[in-house]
Assembly symmetry: C2
Homo-oligomer: 205 residues x 2
């Protein structure tokens, strides 16, 4: 076995990596999942996470806190209620605050999770996609794929109604300030800025 | 509106980006989806694709070929039958050939697609995950999330039976040769190689 396999296996329990439930990659440096269990720590180590956005009001578990500390991962907790009886409304301002943390590349690589990685996580990712100019049907398809049979109409309504207009301008200015931001088209723009001087000068800010 | 928004909008039809059906990010530089339609070309442009792996035997459409030519995207076609009556077996050797193209970073960013992005694409991504040391339950969960209600037991069986042992060593050696390979843990190793000289010398190749 060559070196690269040996060293990779240092992070692996029993030779395999167990992803957290409902794990997906969202963008370069942005991941989503359900609540990670200790058996997922080996997998998470390979992501080299800098931060976690945790979207539940319940305190983080002791073992997960220890994992964060050992790996120097910063926790951003936004306590959004997940009760369904009676159903709680998704709090706009809290989602907005989480979104600001999410798009700040200084926090990347970052993992978003709640309990199942379906509703609260799905709403936050849905709002991010709107900031990225995804059309609504693409946003909702992604939400539904990750929520499966548990998808909720009120989440779709929340994502659709979420206003990103003023936010997009603010966020993209922030992104633009830092190197290495993961959204492809913004990164491309960033790389091309030196050859776009005339356009830069003509920009309305 | 600031520059970054104006320039980003050059690629956008009607101000929004329509992702191909069943679109997801797999890894840095690797995407998957259903068959892209012309209304998805704006979105695809933002991914800055270098290649496409197309897993159906039917010829690529004229308009999609023109899009590839205009954007200098290389097409790798692997004609895997998608018939269900009678069901065709997933051809091991073809999947292996597609996998070799997929993991070669010289082809990244790369999009894998078939027709629905569920079965043929799901099998190829499933085999990739095995190469990445994902445990089988994580691999199958990802397959099922992307196939939805259309998931097929024979695809799960194919992924489970697919042998990656000798392939992994071969592929990881290839990956190791090129800079910028997207799998986090291998990239980390690559970045760390200068401080691991004693371990490097002791490596069994």
């Amino acid at each position: 076995m060559c070196l690269i396999m040996e060293a990779a296996d240092d992070h692996v329990d029993g030779g395999v990596l167990a992803a957290p439930s409902n794990f997906s990659m969202v963008e370069d440096g942005i991941y989503r999942s359900g609540f990670p269990k200790p058996e997922n720590f080996g997998f998470l180590t390979t992501l080299n996470l800098r931060s976690i956005i945790y979207l539940c009001p319940e305190p983080y578990t002791e073992e997960n806190l220890k994992f964060l500390e050992a790996n120097n991962i910063k926790l951003f907790q936004f306590g959004i209620e997940g009760k369904t009886d009676p159903p709680t409304l998704m709090p706009k301002d809290t989602v907005l605050d989480a979104l600001k943390v999410l798009v700040d590349v200084r926090n990347h690589p970052i993992l978003i999770h709640c309990k199942a990685g379906k509703h609260r996580t799905g709403c936050l990712v849905g709002c991010l996609r709107k900031v990225q100019s995804w059309c609504l049907s693409s946003v909702l398809e992604e939400y539904q794929k990750n929520a499966g049979l548990k998808w909720r109409q009120r989440d779709l309504n929340f994502i659709e109604a979420f206003d990103t207009l003023s936010l997009r301008q603010c966020l993209l200015s922030i992104m633009y300030r830092y190197h290495g931001y993961g959204f492809k088209r913004k990164r491309l723009l960033h790389e091309e800025e030196n050859v776009q001087t005339p356009k830069l000068q003509a920009a309305k800010v």
